[in-house]
């Protein structure tokens, strides 16, 4: 049984993605084109980068509900500083990224120093970030952002397919995260904390410092996803990201990472993000109402956690 379940957790998401692609390709000749697949990845890049942060937090048995709200705040800060205050665009981007980092640090400090559950801490910071976004932006969408802020929305052409720079950045960040999680001591320690924090502490891992760092890095990644969001839409949108916390958790779960922490893989999350993107795009192309995409996502999430539960049982 074990020999059957283990590959299922790691390969299941990929099989689901390939099957979905094959299905849509059989239904419409508009699906498997370079332009369309580039579009799917482009539509997934904001939640994609955000989900890297969500994955490393969930690997420590935590969770982050604030990611979408922090992303929105970070994007409005970048856009407003550059457009309304006339600050140098690169400095604006830097400050926007720091806002994301600061919220991540805040989450990490509250979780570790006060020993609070991540769910409640990030529920709080979700509301705080949302409110600050709307107060600071006065509910106004920031238009006319300078080209430096929308760089990652630009494209280059390979063959006949236009590829967005932001998607390249997303893939690079995933590879970087995969390297750190697999090949470095820090990566192994993150898994160790998620498996058993007490054992991790006793084995000499500085768990508090590491957890704060994990939340802070996640916050910084939300800042990066904010830059991608500005690049993609060309505006600073205070209403952005309202469902992105659940979207990113969905991607992590679809990718086979356990919500109990300690088990999972970053590349699975990328596949999870792409599964959602492929269904959203594919169902639209074949003329199925968008609500069925929500239905399919729900079923896949349940399937993913059932498989995870099997894997846990057989690992004991």
């Amino acid at each position: 049984m074990r020999s059957l379940v283990a590959p299922l957790t790691s390969l299941g998401p990929l099989i689901a993605l390939v099957l979905a692609c094959a299905y849509f390709a059989s239904q419409t000749d508009r699906f498997l084109t370079g332009t369309n697949l580039s579009l799917v990845v482009q539509q997934s890049m904001v939640v994609g980068v955000m989900s890297i942060g969500q994955t490393i937090i969930i690997l420590t048995a935590g969770i982050d509900l604030s990611c979408g709200a922090v992303m929105a705040l970070s994007s409005v800060v970048m856009a407003r500083l550059a457009v309304v205050n006339g600050i140098d665009p690169y400095l604006s981007i830097l400050i926007g990224l720091l806002v994301g980092l600061a919220f991540g640090l805040l989450n990490g400090l509250l979780v570790t120093r006060f020993d609070l559950p991540p769910f409640i801490v990030t529920l709080g910071t979700l509301n705080i970030a949302f409110a600050i976004t709307h107060i600071y932006s006065q509910n106004q969408t920031v238009v006319g952002v300078p080209p430096e802020l929308t760089y990652f929305g630009n494209t280059f052409v390979i063959g006949q397919t236009a590829i967005t720079y932001g998607t390249i950045l997303m893939f690079v960040l995933y590879l970087l995260a995969a390297y750190v999680l697999r090949q470095t001591a820090v990566g192994r320690h993150i898994y160790a904390i998620g498996n058993n924090p007490e054992a991790a502490r006793l084995s000499g891992i500085h768990t508090v410092k590491l957890l704060v760092a994990v939340y802070a890095v996640a916050g910084l990644l939300y800042g990066v996803s904010a830059l991608l969001a500005v690049g993609r839409t060309g505006v600073g949108d205070p209403n952005a990201g309202q469902n992105d916390n659940l979207a990113s958790i969905t991607a992590v779960v679809l990718g086979g990472t356990s919500l109990f922490g300690g088990r999972g893989r970053i590349m699975g999350t990328l596949i999870g993000v792409l599964i959602v993107g492929v269904f959203r795009n594919g169902l639209q192309l074949i003329g199925v109402e968008s609500v069925y995409q929500v239905l399919v996502t729900g079923i896949l999430v349940i399937l993913a956690v059932v498989v995870d539960q099997f894997a846990r049982r057989h690992q004991e």
């Binding site: 283990a6 590959p7 790691s10 498997l32 084109t33 397919t161």
Partner: protein, 355 residues
């Protein structure tokens, strides 16, 4: 670590397979792309996209119904999508892109964020797609080829004139329960109402500043309640606390009117206060039938969508694009008609209502 070396090996092998499979997938793509592009060239099906703010609001449900009917009648295929919440710009942007890829020749959209959606619309138009805004204009309005919508200023004007006729010589003490400030629909209806009543000190015109309400000393209480029933009830309760003499209430829509009526009833004042509203949803018309609401300006989401679909089909067949603003009409509904003011009764209202 509890994991055995066996599963560690599997994980490593898994990654290799992931990479391999992705590479294969990416390799197949260009080949298939060539095949599929030649196939789609002969495709002459008319495809119309409809993107609403949300899936659930009855106004948009009716809009979708109208579009579906028109598409069937015209032999076109309808694609639909909606934002996850009212101002879900990312969701609407994604829907536009997917519909362009799906080969839609025209897209009808009720923009959730009227400014933020503009770049996505521009891209679609550059790709040769006809884009028509339904119900809500984009900012700037000419970002779309055309706007099919209710004249919201006129909708307000009709109920303003009506309220003045009913009140006669009585001094009006007015409360307004609005949408959100800065939203053009909210401002147009509000200022239209003031203009209809002969108030607003000259500031209530269709072209006045869209971000503020015109000043009027007869308006003693003005509250933003997002057109939401529960929030409107709270707002009206607070207005009554501030001024018990209120005798006319303007509401932005009928859920707001219901909230206002509930608050007035709890205070025992429902018989002394005239409530007027905008929308003409079936629930609203039934409120007029029950004597809870005096009058409403009925608008026609079904018609907006039908005419939108027809315009796209016409564009595909003849190459003619609709331009500018197209009024989809508004009718005053009341069971207490006033001399000199055109109105229809609730029988007409129920036949033409939505929701």
């Amino acid at each position: 670590m509890r994991r055995g070396s066996g599963s560690r090996w599997l994980r490593a092998a898994g990654t290799a397979r992931v990479v391999l499979a992705l590479a294969l997938l990416l390799g197949i793509v260009p080949m298939l792309a060539m095949v599929s592009q030649s196939a789609s060239a002969q495709d002459k099906e008319i495809i119309v996209g409809l993107i609403t703010k949300t899936e659930t609001n009855p106004f948009f449900v009716k809009m979708k119904e109208g579009a579906q009917k028109a598409a069937e009648a015209d032999g076109a295929k309808l694609l639909t999508a909606a934002g996850a919440f009212d101002a879900d710009n990312a969701g609407q942007t994604t829907a536009i892109e997917n519909m362009v890829t799906a080969g839609a020749q025209g897209i009808l959209i009720t923009p959730g964020d009227t400014k933020a959606i503009v770049p996505a619309i521009e891209k679609a138009r550059q790709a040769g797609v006809l884009v028509i805004a339904l119900d809500t204009p984009t900012e700037p309005m000419d970002a779309t080829d055309a706007l099919f919508a209710t004249d919201n200023f006129k909708a307000g004007l009709l109920i303003g004139e009506y309220a003045k006729a009913v009140m006669g010589d009585k001094t009006p003490v007015i409360a307004t329960i609005d949408g959100s400030t800065g939203v053009s629909v909210s401002v147009l209806r509000h200022n239209g109402f003031l203009a209809g009543y002969g108030l607003g000190e000259g500031g209530a015109t269709p072209t006045a500043d869209m971000s503020t309400f015109a000043p009027a000393s007869q308006v003693v209480c003005s509250q933003d309640a997002d057109g939401d029933q529960a929030k409107s009830q709270t707002a009206m309760e607070n207005c009554l606390q501030a001024n018990g003499d209120i005798n006319v209430v303007y509401t932005i829509n009928e859920p707001a009117a219901r909230g206002v009526y509930t608050a007035l009833k709890a205070a025992g004042k429902e018989k002394d206060v005239l409530i007027v509203s905008v929308d003409g949803g079936c629930d609203g018309v039934r409120m007029i039938e029950a004597g809870e609401l005096a009058a409403t300006s009925q608008q026609y989401p079904l018609k907006m969508a039908q005419e939108g679909v027809d315009a796209v089909v016409n564009f595909v067949k003849t190459g003619e694009k609709p331009t500018g603003y197209h009024d989809t009409g508004v009718t005053l509904i009341t069971n207490n008609p006033q001399p000199g003011i055109d109105s229809k009764d609730t029988k007409f209202g129920l036949e033409n209502c939505w929701g």
